[in-house]
Symmetry: C2
Subunit: 500 residues, 2 copies
C-alpha cells in the first residue's frame, strides 16, 4: 500500500503542476478580457501560447504515462483515487492519438478558418468561408478516425465535449425537439403576445451593477472566493474552487442583458465553487462535462431566474431600485415580459424555448457535414431553409444566418448540442429537486436558495468527474436524460403565460 500511496502522491504532484500552469493561463486570459491595456495584447498572446505549450508538454510526457499505467494496474486504490487514475490515463492516451503533423495541420487550419470567417462576416458572404470550412471538416473526419468510434463518426467528436453522448441519443432528443417543441412554438405564436418593452427603459448603470451583485450574493455565490468584473462578453473562469470569477456587461437600455448574464454565470460559478478543493488538479476536482456545467447555469438562469417564485422576492426590491420604470408594472406583467417567446434569427438572443430549435438545426447540420450528406457549398441555403421550416423566420443575410457563430471556424464540432443538453438536464434535475428538497418552492419565494444549493452541492458539484453525465443523471434523478422533463416544464410554464 505504501508503495501505491507514494506513486499516487507522485501522480497528484504531477497533475497539480499541470493544473497550476493551466490556472495561470486562465488568470492571463481573465486579465486579457478585463484589465489588459490595449497595447499589451501582443506579448500577452505570446505568453498565453507559451504557458499552453508548457501545460501540453507536461501532460504528454512519457514519465506521466508510465506512472499512470503502473497505477492503473494497482488494486489497492480507493474508489476516488482509482477513478482519478483511470480518467487521467484515458485523457493521457487520448492526447497520444494525435500525431504531431495532424496537430500542426489542425492548428494551421483553425487559424486560416477563423480568419476566413472574419473576412466572410465583413463581406457578409458565406462563400468566402466555405473552402476553409470544407478543409476543417475533412480534418475533423480524420480526427474522428484517429480517435476511433463505434457507429457514427460524429460520436468521436461529441465525446470531447460530452463523454458518452452519441448520435443515437441525440437523434432521439432532437427528434423530440422537432416533433414536440415545434408545435408548442406554433401554439404560442397563435396566442395573444406578451409585451416586454418595460425591459428596455433606462436602467442606470450603477444601480444595475448593485442589483446584479445582490443577486449573485443571494444565490449563494461566495464573494470571498470570487469577484465580478466587466468584460465585453460575460464568462466564468476558475483558478481553483477558492477563486472563481464571473464577468458581466451592462446595457443601460436593456435591463435583461446584465441581469440574466449574472444569474447564468453565477450558476456556472456555483458549480466551480462547489467542486472539491481537496481534488484540485485531479479529474474528480473537475466539472463532469460541458452539458452538466450548462445545466447549472441554465437551472439558475431559467428554471429559477425566470420563475414567478424567484421574482416574488426580488421584484419588490427591483421596483424600489427603479420606481420610475417599475412602480406601475405588476409582478405578473414583469414575469410575462421576461418570458416572451419569439422566434428570431440569432441563437444567443433567443428565449429559452426557441433556443433549442437553433441548436437542433446546428446539430442536424454538423451530423450531415460529418457524414458527407451535406456539402459545405450548400450550407448557407440549407441553413436558411431550416430556419424557415423550424423557426418560421426568413434569414436576410449570412451574418445573421450561417456566419453568426464562431464555433465552426474554431473547429468546435459537437459543442452546440451541450447547450441544449444543459437545459434538458436542468429540467430533469429541478424535477428531482422538487421531490427531494423540502420546502423548495417556499424557499425560492422567500429568496432563500440554501436548500437548493446544498442539494446541488451534494448531488452534483461534490462529485466532479467521478460520474459521467449519464451516470450522474441516473444517480440524481433515477433515470437517464429524457426530453419529457423539459417539455413538461415548458408546457406548464408557457401554457400558464400564454393561456392555452
Amino acid at each position: 500500500m505504501s508503495n501505491t500511496q507514494a506513486l499516487y502522491d507522485d501522480f497528484k504532484a504531477k497533475m497539480q503542476k499541470i493544473t497550476d500552469v493551466r490556472m495561470a493561463t486562465a488568470v492571463l486570459g481573465w486579465d486579457q478580457e478585463t484589465y489588459l491595456p490595449e497595447k499589451g495584447a501582443g506579448f500577452r498572446g505570446q505568453q498565453i501560447t507559451t504557458l499552453s505549450s508548457i501545460a501540453h508538454e507536461l501532460s504528454t510526457e512519457k514519465a506521466l504515462g508510465d506512472l499512470l499505467r503502473e497505477l492503473h494496474q494497482r488494486h489497492d486504490l480507493d474508489a476516488v483515487p482509482k477513478r482519478n487514475v483511470d480518467l487521467a490515463l484515458e485523457d493521457y492516451e487520448k492526447h497520444l492519438k494525435y500525431p504531431a503533423p495532424f496537430v500542426a495541420a489542425l492548428s494551421q487550419a483553425t487559424n486560416a478558418s477563423y480568419h476566413a470567417w472574419i473576412k466572410a462576416r465583413k463581406a457578409n458572404d458565406y462563400q468566402l468561408f466555405a473552402p476553409e470550412l470544407a478543409n476543417m471538416i475533412s480534418l475533423k473526419k480524420q480526427e474522428a478516425d484517429l480517435l476511433g468510434y463505434t457507429g457514427h463518426p460524429y460520436n468521436a467528436l461529441l465525446d470531447e465535449y460530452e463523454k458518452g453522448a452519441t448520435v443515437a441519443m441525440l437523434d432521439t432528443i432532437f427528434g423530440e425537439v422537432k416533433t414536440a417543441l415545434t408545435p408548442l412554438l406554433q401554439q404560442i405564436a397563435g396566442r395573444p403576445q406578451v409585451d416586454k418593452s418595460v425591459l428596455f427603459k433606462t436602467y442606470p448603470r450603477d444601480k444595475q451593477w448593485a442589483f446584479g451583485m445582490d443577486l449573485l450574493a443571494a444565490m449563494g455565490y461566495d464573494l470571498e472566493a470570487g469577484r465580478q468584473d466587466l468584460s465585453e462578453h460575460p464568462f466564468t473562469t476558475s483558478f481553483s474552487p477558492e477563486d472563481v470569477r464571473v464577468t458581466t456587461r451592462v446595457d443601460e437600455n436593456d435591463f435583461g442583458n446584465m441581469t440574466w448574464s449574472c444569474i447564468h454565470e453565477g450558476g456556472h460559478a456555483l458549480y466551480e465553487q462547489g467542486l472539491p478543493a481537496s481534488q484540485y488538479g485531479l479529474p474528480c476536482g473537475e466539472a463532469a462535462s460541458l452539458g452538466i456545467h450548462e445545466s447549472q447555469s441554465r437551472l439558475w438562469e431559467n428554471n429559477i431566474g425566470r420563475s414567478q417564485a424567484f421574482w416574488e422576492h426580488h421584484y419588490p426590491l427591483l421596483q424600489a431600485l427603479f420606481p420610475e420604470n417599475l412602480q406601475d408594472v405588476p409582478l405578473t406583467a414583469f414575469y410575462h415580459a421576461i418570458n416572451q417567446v419569439q422566434p428570431s434569427l440569432v441563437r444567443t438572443e433567443a428565449d429559452e424555448l426557441t433556443y433549442h430549435s437553433h441548436v437542433m438545426i446546428r446539430y442536424e447540420i454538423e451530423k450531415a457535414l460529418l457524414e458527407g450528406s451535406l456539402d459545405t457549398k450548400d450550407l448557407s441555403a440549407v441553413w436558411n431553409q431550416h430556419y424557415q421550416q423550424f423557426l418560421g423566420v426568413k434569414v436576410p443575410d449570412d451574418v445573421q444566418g450561417v456566419l453568426q457563430d464562431i464555433h465552426w471556424s474554431h473547429g468546435s464540432f459537437g459543442y452546440f448540442p451541450t447547450y441544449s443538453l444543459g437545459s434538458f438536464y436542468a429540467a430533469q434535475f429541478m424535477a428531482a429537486a422538487q421531490q427531494q428538497v423540502p420546502g423548495l418552492d417556499a424557499g425560492i419565494r422567500a429568496g432563500n436558495y440554501t436548500g437548493l444549493l446544498q442539494w446541488l452541492r451534494r448531488e452534483i458539484h461534490a462529485h466532479g468527474r467521478f460520474y459521467t453525465s449519464n451516470e450522474l443523471c441516473k444517480k440524481v434523478t433515477g433515470a437517464e436524460l429524457q426530453f419529457s422533463y423539459f417539455l413538461d416544464y415548458a408546457k406548464a410554464k408557457y401554457g400558464e403565460i400564454y393561456k392555452f
Copy 2:
C-alpha cells in the same frame, strides 16, 4: 553567419520562453496584490511557486548552457546580440554556482528567518529574531564564497543587485554621506522649521485619484501600455514594455502619500515602458540595475516632483481641485511643506535628505555583519546608537528600530545601498540633462516633460543592460558616480528653503 544566426534565434526563443513564464508569474503577483479574493490566496501561492520553479528549470537546463557557450565563441555577432549572449551566459553560470543543497538550506533559512522576524515584531523584541538572522548571515557568507569575490565578501552580494558596485566605491560615497550630509542636516536643524500641516487636511479620495492619474499622464506614462490600480503598498510591475502597471494607495488625510507614490512609481514605469520591445526576453531588454531603476523613480519623485518648477504648473490645478484646502496657501508655502526635512525613525517615511542616513547606517551594519566585526546579538544596541549619532533620534523600541525593514529576514543583503545610489545617480543625471536638454527648466515650468523624457529614453532606457551602471553613468554624464552632484543639489535647494 547563417549558422550563428540560427543559433542566436534558438537562444532568443529559449530566453523568450523563460521570460513568458516569468511575466506570467508577475501577472499572478499583480493580481494577488490588487484583485485576488481573500480565499484565493492558498492556491495562488502554489501556482506562483510552480511557475517560478518552471522558470528556474528552464533557465538552468543544460541545453541552454551548451548553446550559450557555443554562441559565446562566435565572432560574427553584432554588439547587442553579443552582449545579450555574454550577459545570459554570465547569469547562467552564476546559477550553476549554487549547489542544490545550498539552495534548499537558504530557502529553509529564509522561511524560518521571515517567520522569526514576524514573531519578533509582534513581541517587539529583536532577540527573538537574532538566532535566525545569525544563521542567515552565515549562509550569506557561504554564498559570497560560492560566488567568489575580490576584496570584501560583501562585494559578491552587492553584485547581485548592482553589478560592479564594491565596498571600495560605497565606502567613499557613504563616507561622504557621513562627513557632508550629517553637517548639512545639522545646519537645517538650526534654522526656522517649515510647516507641512497643509498636506494633512482632508483630500477626498476620488479627486486625489484623478489628480494622480493626471500626473502620470503629464509625465508621459502611456496609459494604453499600462494602468494604475490600488494596492496596500504601491509598486510597479512589467509584463512587457507594452504592459507596465503601477499601483498606489490613497489616504484621505495625507495628500503626499498618494501623490509622490504616483510620481515615484511613474518614474519606474517610464523606464520599463522605454526598454526596447525588440529585446523582449533578452538582457538588453532588461533594466540596467536596481540603482539605475531607482534613479528613474527618484529623479521624477524628487528632482522633478518636489521642485518648485514642477509645481508652478501643477499647483494652480491642485488649488482648483481642492480650493477649500489650498486657495489661501501660496505656492512657496506649499513647496516648503513638501520639502520639510525632519530626522525620523522609519526609513520609508524619511524626507529626501535624511533618507540617506538611514541607508548609510544599514550599509555599515551589513558590511560589519558580513565581515564578522559585528555580532547579531549586539545589533539592536548598535542600531540605536547609530540612529542617535547620525540622525539624533532616540529609538524607543525594536519595531521602530532594527525590526522595521523586511529585507534582512528575506536574506537581501546588498539591496539597501541601491536606494541611495538611485538618488545619487538621479542628481548626476539631472545635472547632465540640464546641460544637454534645451529648454529643460522652461519645459518643466510649463508642465511639459517631453524633452526630458526623450533624453532619458535615448540616453538610459533604450540601452537596457547593454551598459553596466558605471558605464552608463560615464557615458551619460561624462564621469563615474560622485556624491558631489547630490550634495550640490541638496545644498542649493535646501539652502534656499531653509535660508542659509
